[in-house]
Subunit: 166 residues, 3 copies
């Protein structure tokens, strides 16, 4: 992505490869455990929430994780790094079925499905969480960044706790 | 997708983002349980079949589900809505590896892989079904619609019965 | 893909649909068990390696499978075909999150995530292996081919042995 692109004038069709790139970078950052870089995908005032599907569909406000700005995301990363009680594991994420809903009031609405797989040391890989993203992006310093990222996961029950971002 | 596009003159490369969009919409319709909208992805005379891979590869005609036109699809939705014996569950679908095989006699052949995950209430998410689509699309009223959708699933055995469309 | 395309002058954005096509063809070749065609995705001097993530990240050279040129890939296919001790099974692969890192010294660096699912006769489908590709492609006879394909899988433990290519 170059800073000279005018994302705001692009059609949904033209934005598709741009977003495929962005989500692939986002996933690689997390999968490769480069958590310190993760907040840079967000605007300073970004809201990041992880919500069970049932709560989301019933309009219940309770979130599993709620970060109100980029500072919270940094804090989250620090918390993960300082926590030693969890068994080491790999998470692998596949993002698919990206839908570009279009621009409204300077913000771009995007939807996507994800599947995340967890591998603990010397164990078989298993499904960790599946769900969807409800995202809002804006252009900041020539780049598309998440102003809001809502992760809606299908299962209330997930193996161990939800430590790593999705 | 706008009605003014001339899909029939597009190359496989040009059709790729169009089909990525279409399959993402198709999946979202099903994942979000908007089943009443599902038949609109099909032509009036569409054939929709779900077939075990072993039957498909042996040339056996037996299908797990066989719908001969759009009316059957509507009936299927009504049947699902009226059936209360199944435990509520979420299905999440990821469609990937879309292949645009090209136009022949006014019909576009497309292949894709899917993975579907099932989440029952208060249970872990598990793999529900994986397989591939063998699809034929035509242009109807300026839109690409499925004239034939063949869902070939890898496992004869699936958790519970195959209630929801793939 | 036509032989007249000049891949070397294309941007990462332009190469994305080309690579989506190529990986979809690669996966279909394997999923449909057309193993004899599989070596044709590689250059004559291609290196194909399957490596556990832990070894890769520690810089350990030990690979689960190491093929030093196309002849090794052909030998591998012959070995698979002649081996009858394995229970028949289907593998279904989803490749996602393709990242085009760009050209350097005539070679194109590409990354992608994969999830592979295994279905044994009369059994439920299960996660077989997830991981990522670290690939290097070059243009040979007008086509993009793998000069190096490194499959890095997350779990040391995989159901049964790693028989089929990824």
């Amino acid at each position: 992505m170059t800073a000279t692109e005018d994302f705001a004038t692009m059609s949904a069709r033209e934005l598709r490869p741009v977003l495929e790139e962005l989500y692939a970078e986002y996933v690689a950052c997390l999968d490769e455990d480069r958590l310190e870089e993760w907040p840079e995908f967000f605007t300073d005032d970004a809201v990041y929430r992880i919500v069970p599907r049932e709560n989301f569909e019933r309009g219940l406000p309770i979130a599993t994780l709620h970060c109100e700005n980029k500072g919270y995301l940094h804090d989250r990363v620090v918390a993960i790094r300082q926590t030693a009680v969890y068994a080491p594991r790999y998470i692998r994420r596949l993002v698919s079925n990206i839908r570009v809903l279009g621009w409204a009031h300077g913000a771009l609405a995007v939807r996507a499905n994800y599947a995340a797989f967890e591998t603990l040391h010397a164990e078989l890989t298993r499904v960790f969480s599946v769900g969807r993203y409800h995202d809002t992006l804006v252009v900041t310093e020539g780049r598309l960044k998440f102003k809001e990222k809502l992760v809606i996961f299908d299962s209330e029950l997930i193996p161990n706790s939800l430590i790593y971002p999705l």
